[in-house]
Symmetry: C2
Subunit: 178 residues, 2 copies
């Protein structure tokens, strides 16, 4: 299963692709950060974000998209931008017919480090270890996007089974179409 | 100038078109509310909202889009949905090349009633009066969208002048192409 993880943000949006399945080794396919300049008009920043995420989707063709679930309680100052970025990621998934799921920051931390209260450095270290990377990807938004994708693969259970079935069906249809 | 006003929301998104210019009578072109069922997946609700707003834009061809500026402080429970809806409205404007502006709730109230602290009923009464409507449009989200469009037309000043110039240029290009 190929998962596109998105850590939504307006100034820095982390994005990364991880391939793997439960019980098998994981591998990083690609990782990056989408930056939009804060002196640009809000609508132009959203347009750039939309363009860049669409580009990732069309290049890497993920089976599932995982987006961090943001809560209004954290960072009141930036929460609107984060919400708008998340909304655009969800809309792109829906338009592309790619299953999308949201995971909370503590679900991601727990999946990757075993503790829902792990700090950023612990998460980054585990992401590098799990993906067998020689260096920790920078900035932290990129690591968070990879952690999110790993969390999605590992959380298993009904939701992932459904997503896997949908991914298999999508890939079957792709082959049929040619 | 034809203005599309959007009062962003996930459960109820108010939408309305007002035509007019500073110093001339205003008229309502259309008004409505986009509803998305709360039992639908978030990405499907955003997709439906995107479809519906795009439909309004392509049917009514507005010169400017005015979106209510939402603050994270109000209604923490619904603020993420409101932010996502606003983000989609802004993205549609950017994609369509239509100038977009945001106005705060107090700017809208002040423009329509003369007081930034007016209540919902006062705003609704004034909207009906200004647009020469025999009844107040329901629900309040619809009235708010119309109030937003009126506010945009009446605030005048540099921003509206720029938008008017852009609208004139767009209309000129449309005629040249068409």
């Amino acid at each position: 299963m190929r998962v596109l993880g998105i850590d939504p943000g307006l100034t820095r949006c982390g994005i990364g692709i991880v391939e793997g399945s439960v019980g098998k080794p994981l591998s990083m396919v690609s990782v990056g950060v989408i930056l939009t300049p804060s002196d640009l008009a809000l609508e132009s920043r959203l347009l750039e974000l939309d363009r860049a995420i669409n580009e990732w989707v069309s290049i890497w063709n993920p089976d599932v998209i995982a987006v961090e679930r943001v809560f209004a309680q954290h960072n009141v100052r930036t929460v609107m931008g984060t919400g708008q970025a998340a909304g655009i990621a969800l809309l792109i998934a829906a338009k592309s017919g790619i299953p999308v799921m949201m995971h909370t920051p503590s679900e991601v931390k727990a999946a990757v480090t075993g503790s829902g209260r792990a700090n950023k450095a612990q998460v980054a270290t585990m992401v590098a270890k799990l993906l067998n990377l020689s260096e920790i990807p920078k900035p932290v938004d990129a690591t968070d996007a990879l952690a999110l994708a790993i969390c999605h693969i590992w959380r298993g259970g009904a939701n992932t089974n459904i997503a896997t079935a949908l991914a298999a069906e999508k890939s079957r249809l792709r082959k049929l179409r040619g």
